[in-house]
Amino acid sequence: MEEFASETDSDYTSYWRDWFVSSRGNEYFCEIDEEYLTDRFNLTGLNTEVHYYQHALDLVNDVFDLDCDDEMREAIEKSARHLYGLVHARYIVTTRGLAKMLDKYKKADFGKCPRVICDSHPLLPMGQSDIPHQKAVKMYCAKCEDIYNPKATRHATIDGAYFGSSFHNILFQVYPALIPEKSRARHMPRVFGFKVHVAAALARWQDGVRVEQQRGLREAGVENAAFLEDEGEVADEEDGFGQGGEQGGEDSREGGCRGRWGHGGGEGVKNVHES
């Protein structure tokens, strides 16, 4: 069998799959090995989930030879796409599937985290449910451990079940070296250089949660409980944007607002930007 490294196993064997993964809007899918698709064991249960199951499977495997009208053909085509998606969810948690998706991840084929502090960390597609027709695909960022809507509308209607709720977490279990370092940096809203009280209070509360968590993990002997900024283990930590040196009170420090008076604090709108 061809190795997964080659995108097209051969023109003859992967015509439909090749077409499918290279279609616009299907950028998140990897190509499922023919080997995997032809092993019935891997398809267990899908016959009840997919209309015209056998025809759809034949189409995916390029052995479709039913003579039918366009309407029927279209229905089968649609079923084939659904079938491919459902098999895809299973395939991408196999060794070969993970490797293929990892490859795409490394190329940032799934896009980058929109959160500014995450600094364009690559995303992974995921589903909030493993049941089809429930939730559209979402994008997982391993840096902030949060999920986002896909940027492009052409991806907004892809079924999340085609990726499933486990794949992205399994990937990091299998490749722990890829777990990104976590950062404590956060956005701190300001008005005229002042930290906004409610936001600052919430941030302090959240920092308390984090410190508590870190302590718990250390006590439990968990290794990687540290954050990027933890290096020096200073009590009074910098927590800015990672954008130091700018005007606007970027000298934020935890533990009080002693250094917080920003530029123009307390000035009126009109001349607040002076200096």
Binding site: D146, R210, E223, G248, V269, V272
Partner: protein
């Protein structure tokens, strides 16, 4: 009421705002620009300032190359003619072509980029002024700035902001009131827009000015519809009419390799019902329901493998929950209330309460968190109080009686509050010199 009617369709300002990528900009009114006070300090930041200003205002450039809108010295030199012309509305509004023609070719592009810089810097000030913030409110409500990409924010609308007030540093970002975080605009066209043209203050000032904006996901009707449609159209590339709703549709998948049925059943931990103390209606002027509605219990992503929660103690276990956390009992972050409960005084009390003094001392002594925080708090609370005591009106429908609501309209009040404290004032100055204040 927003789009300033004084501008003719072909004015520099409106054509600037209609450029692709400039969708976030408000149209700064000429009144605002013509008030010299609003331009204080910009002259030194913008090359060819006068020409740039003329361009923005569609003023015909003077022959000497110096401006018709001049500072006092030049006004004298130019005397009669120009001075009179300035009062003549017809003289303005030269079309761009003509104007360009009159300037030397190389100059024109320099002036054009200076004009864009100048407009941006004025814009950052304008949108923190009353008419400006009002205009941005309209754009916000029309969804001109888009929605938060974060799933658990459920499509809360975002606001363009800068992370610095210095031009040339960073492009415009989007601030989400749901998660209090900032995001890169989805469309790359905005990657050419300077964040300083929106500034660091606008984002929060906006939500403090309009504390009653409905940020709940339910209010975002069209988004909810979208979310419903994410009860997906079965297949991708669906350009067809045939409904192939699967036969077993929502029934659980039969057991299959790699996909045990447990994957669908998210075990919910049994939890004791929590009885919360009474929640305040507002915290520091913000409606409690508007304090980061996208954060907290149920709004934090929980990694699962085959339906089972990934333990925090696992190697790749979750480490970032704190970032999206919020106390169930919001009183926990009502620091002013907590502080006053501890040290006495009334959080809603007199603006010249002893709090200020204490806060000042706290600062000096490096007295730990409490004192320091309160300095901020004092200033913010001070603002809202002066707003009330000085009887500055809040925009209609903003709930006059509400504490806080540090509206743009209360800038005067805001300025006064911290100035009452001589100590605080001095410290602010130090802060300007690179924040050497703190430490301790």
């Amino acid at each position: 009421m927003s789009v300033t009617s004084s501008q003719s369709p072909e004015s520099w300002i409106s054509s600037f705002c209609s450029l692709i990528g400039h969708e976030y900009f408000a149209e700064v009114s000429e009144d605002f620009i013509e008030d010299d006070f609003n331009l204080t300090g910009l002259q030194s930041q913008v090359p060819m300032y006068k020409d740039a200003l003329e361009m923005i205002l569609d003023v015909e450039p003077s022959e000497t190359g110096s401006s018709a809108i001049s500072d006092e010295e030049e006004e004298e030199e130019d005397d009669g003619l120009l001075g009179e012309e300035q009062d003549e509305p017809g003289r303005r509004r030269t079309s761009h072509e003509t104007r360009r023609h009159m300037r030397a070719g190389s100059d024109a592009s320099v002036i054009e980029s200076s004009a864009e810089l100048l407009y941006g810097l004025i814009h950052a000030r304008f949108i923190t002024s009353r008419p400006g913030i009002q205009q941005m409110l309209e754009k916000y409500e029309l969804g001109h700035f888009g929605h938060c990409p974060r799933v658990f924010c459920s499509g809360v609308k975002v606001l363009p902001v800068g992370r610095t007030d210095t031009p040339g540093q960073e492009t415009v970002k989007l601030f989400c009131p749901g998660c209090l975080d900032v995001y890169t605009p989805p469309n790359s066209r905005f990657q050419a827009v300077d964040g300083a043209f929106f500034g660091t203050t606008f984002g929060c000032l906006f939500f403090m000015t309009f504390p009653d904006l409905d940020l709940s996901p339910r209010s975002l009707r069209h988004r909810t519809a979208e979310e419903d449609s994410s009860a997906i159209t079965a297949q991708q590339n669906n350009s067809d009419t045939v409904v192939t709703a699967s036969r077993s549709s929502s029934l659980t998948l039969p057991s299959a390799p790699g996909m045990p049925p447990t994957a669908q059943i998210y075990p919910t931990r049994k939890e004791e019902p929590i009885i919360l103390p009474e929640q305040p209606a507002t915290i520091n002027g913000m409606a409690t329901s508007n304090v980061a509605p996208g954060l907290g219990k149920g709004k934090i992503y929980e990694p699962r493998i085959y339906g089972f929660r990934v333990s925090e103690r696992a190697k790749g276990g979750p480490r970032m929950r704190w970032l999206r956390s919020k106390p169930l009992d919001i009183n926990e972050i009502d620091e002013s209330r907590i502080w006053h409960a501890k040290y006495g005084g009334d959080p809603d009390g007199d603006p010249v309460a002893p709090v200020d003094e204490t806060a000042g001392e706290g600062n000096g002594d490096g007295d730990g968190d409490g004192g320091g925080e309160d300095a901020v708090m004092a200033s913010v609370t001070g603002q809202s109080q002066s707003q009330q005591t000085e009887g500055i009106s809040v925009p209609a429908g903003q709930g006059q009686g509400q504490q806080g609501a540090a509206a743009a309209t209360t800038v005067a009040g805001r300025r006064k509050a911290p100035m009452r404290r001589s100590k605080g004032r001095g410290r602010m100055g130090e802060g300007l010199d690179g924040g050497g204040v703190g430490g301790g």
